[in-house]
């Protein structure tokens, strides 16, 4: 490349892959990047500053130096042609990684409509090259050796995410036929940084690791089962492989492919030429968590006769289904450049990633960045479950109930309702997600919005709402009932006067 400034428009910069790619692009002194950040830009840029800071880059200085410029917008609706005019290349890494459509329009909205919008803008602005980050799994259910070609017929795909990525590839490939040079990069499953173990998102194989941790924790306390002989069926084949790639390597490959001049449209697999087998991954997890006993099984999902340990392992959903695949290999030119014998992921780099994951509590967002929007006039259950609980529970008596490990669903009925699932691990509230989520609840409380307002304000004890009112408990009712006094103590410590108080003091999680 020459020393002339080369301008890249990057989407998805705040993502796991995106910020690593931004760092790789900026490692080339003549490259300048315009990054698309979603509103509110103050929050997105604060996040990007933190992410880049963690890998040694200073965003404010890069902006002052003119190496990075921020463009506010979102896909598919708010991208203006002026935002991208004059760039040499668009590197489109923004994506929605939700596997199953959930009524919000995702993942199609971002992945298909979003890609179409940016391609249209690119065509009208006359951008010569478009690099699209797809996924190696657009091959769907196919087995055998996958070539680095665009496949014009849609294969049998496993989920809405893969479907949306294949559709997006089709749009990108068509654009390449008409408007410019299209490059499709297809990474396999992204894992932590091979040097430090760092990751900013814990999806994919991390879910399998997280499920193993849940099981290992339970074994710490189990008197019934020896931790080295756990009765657990792992759905998959032991000799099949798990194609994971380290994030730093994947980001570098994509950046290099993008910055390399192209003479024609092309497809690149960013895949591991020597991926670990499922058996190897199992061994690494067992070594790390000091458990053993699981065996690979061809049982079908869902397990109707799951034992207690299987219930625990699969409490995050069928984590193996989407990541453990049989009989797939990938052609990959960039992988072919690896020195012989060098493995992208081995037992020690895997363990480093797990160590990082545990140290960061599986990437919980630092509390300073939490987006707390207390409702202005009425009590907002979303705010309560998604923002207030994560702030208040760690400071409450619940955090001292060290044996409390449970996955709990709260369903609020009525017009301002919704459903959320919290995962507690040894008293720690690890996560609370709106349904749908991969978390599988052990029990559920279902109550009306009006009852919720009274319960959180401590005007009605939860047990009264249940015994004398209309609230219901489902699933493991015994555990649901056992949790009621724990919730009761929490409510006494952190009452929230929903209707009379606009909750302003609760911004910081302080009880009103």
């Amino acid at each position: 490349m020459t020393g002339k400034p080369f301008e890249v428009f990057l989407t998805g910069a705040t993502g796991f892959l995106g910020h690593y790619m931004l760092a790789e692009l900026l490692a080339h002194p003549h490259v300048r990047c315009r990054v698309l950040l979603r509103s509110p830009v103050s929050k997105s840029s604060a996040r990007l500053t933190r992410l880049l800071g963690e890998i040694g880059l200073n965003l404010p200085s890069l902006i002052v130096e003119g190496r990075v410029a921020i463009v506010e917008g979102a896909l598919p609706d708010s991208l203006r042609p002026a935002d991208i005019s004059g760039v040499d290349l668009i590197l489109h890494a923004a994506g929605n990684t939700t596997f199953h459509a959930n009524g919000s329009g995702e993942p199609a909205k971002t992945n298909i409509d979003g890609t179409r919008a940016i391609l249209d803008a690119a065509a009208s602005a006359g951008i010569p090259r478009f690099v699209f980050v797809s996924t190696a799994y657009v091959c769907g259910e196919q087995v055998g050796h996958q070539l680095e070609v665009f496949r014009p017929t849609i294969p049998q795909l496993r989920n809405d995410y893969e479907q949306s990525k294949w559709r997006a590839e089709q749009l990108v490939w068509d654009w390449g036929q008409r408007s410019g040079m299209a490059t499709i990069c297809r990474p396999s499953i992204l894992f932590g940084d091979s040097r430090t173990g760092r990751a900013s998102a814990m999806k994919g194989l991390y879910l399998v690791a997280k499920a193993t941790e849940i099981l290992a924790r339970a074994m710490d306390d189990s008197r019934e089962m020896d931790r080295h002989h756990i009765s657990l069926r792992i759905l998959g084949r032991s000799d099949a492989t798990c194609n994971v790639v380290p994030i730093d390597w994947a980001a570098r490959q994509i950046a290099e492919i993008a910055l390399e001049p192209a003479t024609e449209s092309s497809v690149h697999h960013i895949t591991n030429p020597d991926p670990p087998t499922h058996q190897e991954v199992k061994g690494w997890l067992e070594d790390y968590f000091d458990i053993a006993g699981g065996r690979f099984s061809d049982a079908t999902w869902p397990l109707t006769d799951a034992n207690h340990y299987e219930d625990l392992f699969y409490s995050l959903g069928n984590i193996c289904l989407d990541y453990f695949r049989d009989g797939l290999t990938f052609e990959s030119q960039c992988a072919a450049k690896l020195s012989p014998g060098r493995r992208l992921i081995d037992g020690s780099s895997f363990a480093r990633c797990l160590k990082y994951a545990q140290a960061t509590h599986w990437c919980r967002t630092p509390s300073g960045e939490k987006d707390i929007h207390p409702p202005s006039d009425s009590f907002d259950p979303t705010w309560y479950f998604e923002h207030f609980l994560p702030e208040a529970v760690p400071r409450s008596v619940v955090a001292k109930v060290e044996e409390l490990t449970a996955i709990v669903q709260y369903t609020i009925t009525g017009s301002i309702g919704g459903s959320w699932i919290s995962r507690f691990d040894r008293g720690r509230l690890e996560e609370t997600n709106a349904v749908p989520t991969t978390l599988k609840p052990e029990f559920e409380y279902r109550l009306s919005y009006e009852d919720l307002v009274d319960v959180v304000a401590c005007r009605k004890p939860l047990q009264d709402v249940f015994f004398h009112g209309s609230a219901e408990m489902f699933g493991d009712v015994e555990r649901a009932l056992k949790m009621v006094p724990i919730i009761g103590e929490f409510l006494k410590e952190f009452p929230v006067n929903g209707k009379e108080n606009p909750l302003m003091e609760c911004r910081t999680g302080v009880a009103c």
Binding site: K400, V401, E403, H468, E478, K482, P485, E489
Partner: protein, 239 residues
Amino acid sequence: MLIETAIIEENVRIQGTERMLEGMLAYPNEHTEGTALIAGPHPFLGGDMRNNIVSSLFKALASCGAVTLAFNYGGVGASEGGPADWPAVMSKFWKSGTFDEEDDWADDTGSAMVSLRQWCDLPPILLGYSFGCWTTVKNLRDSCAKAIILISPNPKQHTFEQLSNCVAPLLVIHSENDFTCNVSETIEWFESIREPKTRIQLPASEHFFRGHEREVTQAVLTFLQLNHVLETEKHDHNH
């Protein structure tokens, strides 16, 4: 023909072992006939004297003439005491479903029996619901009970050996769908205990008998009437 009998309710204080407990006493304003004590569910599992089953029985028994006492275990409502290290106890309870301090709640039931005896010196009808079955049976030895009624006992969790110390007629009521102990386990245990005994399985109900309070109460009153413990026919228990 059932006739409603007005009852009087009083808040009472019960001297427990090193703690005062709160209770509720109810009795008809005319003729009284015997006494009854109701021990409620586990304090950590919704157990207070306002529980749906406890309060339904409380009113029905009083309107049938029994001087009836319900109470809150230590640490519940205005009763003093309760586990000192709450998070540690709760942790233990979450893990194993039981903890050492539960014995104090059995002692509370014993204290309530003594107080009731002091107020009205007649052999009591002893009623326990869920965890209250265990606290009741633990105190049977000195009770001179006239009848024993156990609702939703959990023989998987608790032992009821002391039942053999008492010859009073026994009624066991259980639900068809109890998450703490299934029907066959309850029947197996019931077969193993001493006579005289009666077992009633209430259809379409679960451990909490929500919406089935009236059937539970009806079953109790019929049993007491058949065993000539209480004369219930002239009273209305439909509260």
